[in-house]
Amino acid sequence: MFTASILIQQIVYGLVIGSSYVLMAAGFSLIWGIMGVLNLAHGEFYMLGAYIAYYVSSLLGFNPIMSAIVAMAAMFFFGIAFERALLSPLYGRKGWEMSTVLITVGASILIQNLALVIFGEKYKGLPMYFEGELEIWKIVLSYDRLVVFLVGIFLIALLWYLLKYTRVGMAMRAVSQNQEGAYLTGINVHKIFYLAFGLSAAFAAAGGALLAPIYFVYPTVGAGPLLMAFAIVIFGGFGSVKGAIVAGFLLGVFESLVVLMVSSAWKDVFIFVLVIIVLTVRPRGLFGIQ
């Protein structure tokens, strides 16, 4: 039916997509851990990132890496504005969790449909930027994909470094572990909230921007990655960036294999059923703290 090299090829593709899922899920998980917010508009950050990269690339002729950087910078500020305008008025309110779920749903609908009006519903694709393919042991990988993969890995490492070693990154982790302790340490928790939100938006945008040259861009393109981010944080544990990295690559590969062995139409069904089963057995996720 299929040979070992097709299998390996598919695994490699899975890793490429996985790197973009990780970018998406890490920020999603970060926000959940720090603010207790389930940001249902996170998929729209991905979509906006992809559009910005598309326009920057096609209008200004930037290469994909440069356009991804522009998209990240723009979405960093967008994320901050989002948090200030929509979430900060809700702090300390009764029913905080429900309010944030509802308001991010509202924002998601609004942004998605604004995009539909502004950008149109047509799928937009970019021509290949780096022509040619790399071939090792019958595994063929286009340079485009390779670049996406490498940049993705670099960004993940960057995020890891940020959280692990910088002052602000450490403060983010501190807020997620013990908010009151963070206040008493002199950390301006509200500032950490919006910085983390900006960071998470920037990384989601990077995920979208990097895949823009490989897949198409359209207004609802964020829905899939958002659902994937859900699945990833459930497997990796809510609030755990490390878990998101591991789970993101695993699910990317899992998805590729389902596509290969079953069909692409059923891949989401498989993943969601897996999610439901995992949550039923372990209500706080696979690696979550019980």
Partner: protein, 316 residues
């Protein structure tokens, strides 16, 4: 005196709706009312879970769709008489709710939203992919409920369904079940300690809510007569959410009010069809920020203000 005014208004409304097709035989208006009736049932019953019990159900569209598909398929493939198949649709939806209700019992807030949403997406994609049975995106042509009948027939069936649903909800919410739902929403622990079997009540709420939603879905399918998997799309859930929040969740009249207002509003905004969801999104955001209680709470506060004024006038 005020109470009697309210019942007179309600009675008037009931009479108006009862004779509406004869008073205003405008097919388009009747069509809008049919849709309003059906969606009122759906939103009201979602409200049991979301508004009253505080269960973050984001998968109500699945019950609607499951009711629709099972009724349509029963009528189509097995030749079951349509009225019977609609009732079956309700039961199938109800059965499916156990499947999704059980996993949510041990989960909290956002996780519930996630699991129910995932469930609905699985159902939608299954219907979309199982082409042999459902014809996938091509859609099923559904048997008519009343062959040859015009809209007026459907109007009365939908009206009856809404009456039935409202009476059941009134009965249930005025009974001790109503207290239980609120008690569970406010503090599950306290409810448990006062002798309430929380799990039993949550499952019951799921069974009732999904049964009614399934009936509504089945009726919708046999009325519209074209059924695609999009019936279970997230868009429907969003619409439910907006209708509920607009009217006011956690109240009985809220969802019905919200549904009617939004159904008619979106028809009059037809020219702005592409802006419909932009308006929805904005409405949700504004509602969360400024009127968390929806139209009903707005009306109530106006009412108390008027009342307060009257008291003041009386005393002075």
């Amino acid at each position: 005196m005020k109470g009697s005014l309210k019942s007179i208004l309600l009675l008037g409304l009931f009479l108006l709706l009862s004779f509406f097709p004869f008073l205003f035989p405008d097919p388009y208006l009747i069509h809008l009312l049919i849709l309003s009736f059906i969606f009122s049932v759906l939103v009201s019953n979602w409200n049991i879970l979301f508004g009253y019990m505080g269960i973050f159900c984001f998968g109500q569209q699945a019950f609607f769709g499951i009711g629709a598909y099972s009724s349509a398929l029963l009528a189509l493939k097995l030749g079951v008489p349509v009225p019977l198949s609609i009732v079956f649709g309700g039961f199938v939806a109800s059965l499916s709710s156990i499947l999704i209700g059980l996993p949510t019992l041990r989960l909290q807030g956002a996780y519930v939203a996630l699991v129910t949403l995932a469930f609905a997406e699985v159902m939608r994609m299954t219907c979309s992919n199982w082409v042999g049975m459902t014809r996938g995106q091509l859609g099923l042509t559904v048997t008519a409920l009343i062959p040859g009948a015009g809209r007026v027939g459907y109007y009365y069936v939908a009206f009856l369904l809404l009456l039935l649903s409202t009476i059941v909800l009134l009965k249930v919410m005025r009974s001790s079940f109503g207290y239980v739902t609120v008690a569970i929403r406010e503090s599950q622990e306290a409810a448990d300690s006062l002798g309430i079997n929380v799990i039993k009540y949550k499952i019951s709420a799921f069974l009732l809510s999904s049964f009614m939603s399934g009936l509504a879905g089945a009726l919708y399918a046999h009325y519209i007569r074209i059924l695609t998997p999009d019936i279970m799309s997230l868009h429907l859930m969003i619409t439910i959410l907006v209708m509920g929040m607009l009217g006011g969740i956690g109240t009985l009249p809220g969802p019905i009010l919200g549904t009617f207002v939004l159904t008619f509003l979106s028809e009059y905004l037809r020219d702005f069809a592409q802006f419909r969801f932009i308006i929805y999104g904005t409405l949700i955001i504004l509602a969360v920020l400024f009127v968390p209680g929806g139209l009903v709470s707005g009306l109530r506060s106006v009412e108390t203000k008027l009342k307060g004024k009257r008291c003041q006038e009386g005393s002075s």
